[in-house]
């Protein structure tokens, strides 16, 4: 009896911290993979490499995404969650991917594209990436940094749906077959926490897309890094 209690307690510790440690080391690996890929692309002659101007904003460069399942392709930052909150985004939302990182729902659009860029992540376990998702309010910003561009979405709504409600993934959410006119982001996680009964959906709309002014070492000291062109 006592043994069972101790093992249960240990298991809860594992869920909260153990799976987080595994996810954190995966995140570090993704970040260094992206940074080295992007630094390589920024060598003279590469996209963005010859840029010397530090002008506040440059129009977004056309971009193609070809990440395969499990491969990182972007970073997501949500200023409302604090400066240190940043996760890599990888392709795929099967458990194998969600257990290490928030992922892009395959078949939905990519960052900045016309339609619906859908991202799912764990609410609890694996570093609890989307723990605070339900606290986002209309007006909060979501930044997506890709190899070439910096996309900023502004939250416009939040609702709770059943996991079977795949309509939220449509290019025009809830209206399959309709031609999209907006560039949306849909962030998805579980609700209530610790259960799989419902999903919280946070929707945002693209408010700016700019070329990233510095490619490697995104973060402190990088011009324009923390001030996306649009005011809040």
């Amino acid at each position: 009896m006592l043994t069972a209690g101790v093992i249960t307690l240990l298991f809860v510790c594992y869920l909260v911290w153990g799976s987080g440690m595994r996810a954190a080391s995966a995140q570090r690996a993704f970040a260094s993979e992206l940074n080295s890929e992007w630094a390589h692309a920024a060598l003279p002659g590469g996209p963005g490499g010859s840029k010397t101007s530090l002008a506040a904003s440059q129009p977004a460069l056309p971009e193609r995404f070809d990440a395969v399942t499990g491969q990182p392709f972007a970073f997501i930052q949500i200023p409302a969650f604090g400066k240190s909150w940043r996760f890599a985004l990888i392709e795929g939302t099967a458990l194998a991917q969600l257990n290490v990182s928030p992922g892009h729902v395959p078949g939905t659009q990519w960052p900045g594209q016309l339609g619906n860029f859908a991202v799912a992540g764990h609410r609890v376990t694996s570093g609890n990436p989307f723990w605070s998702l339900p606290s986002l309010r209309p007006g909060d910003l979501v930044d997506i940094q890709t190899e070439l561009n910096d996309y900023t979405y502004r939250v416009i709504g939040k609702h709770v749906v059943s996991p079977a409600d795949l309509g939220v993934l449509d290019p025009v959410p809830g209206d399959p077959g309709k031609q999209p006119t907006q560039r949306l982001i849909t962030l998805i996680t579980c609700d209530p926490a610790w259960t799989g009964t419902h999903r919280v959906i946070v929707t945002g709309v693209l408010v700016s897309a700019e070329e990233r002014l510095c490619t490697a070492g995104y973060g402190s000291g990088c011009p324009g890094a923390s001030t996306p062109g649009q005011p809040r």
């Binding site: 969600l98 729902v105 799912a120 376990t125």
Partner: protein, 52 residues
């Protein structure tokens, strides 16, 4: 269960205590690195979202 193991361990009380701790650590490590990851993937927590 613990008494049964304790009685079958050889050596002094200290050697037995050390062996017991060693066993406990091995069991905990096996749970942490093998059993728990497997069990976690079978929990209905945060099921794979909308991959249908």
């Amino acid at each position: 269960m613990y008494g049964w193991i304790w009685q079958r361990l050889p050596g002094s009380i200290y050697a037995r205590a050390a062996a017991m701790s060693g066993l406990a650590i091995v069991v905990a490590a096996a749970l942490w690195f093998f059993v728990f990851p497997w069990a976690a993937s079978h929990l209905p927590i945060d099921g794979s979202a909308f991959t249908g």
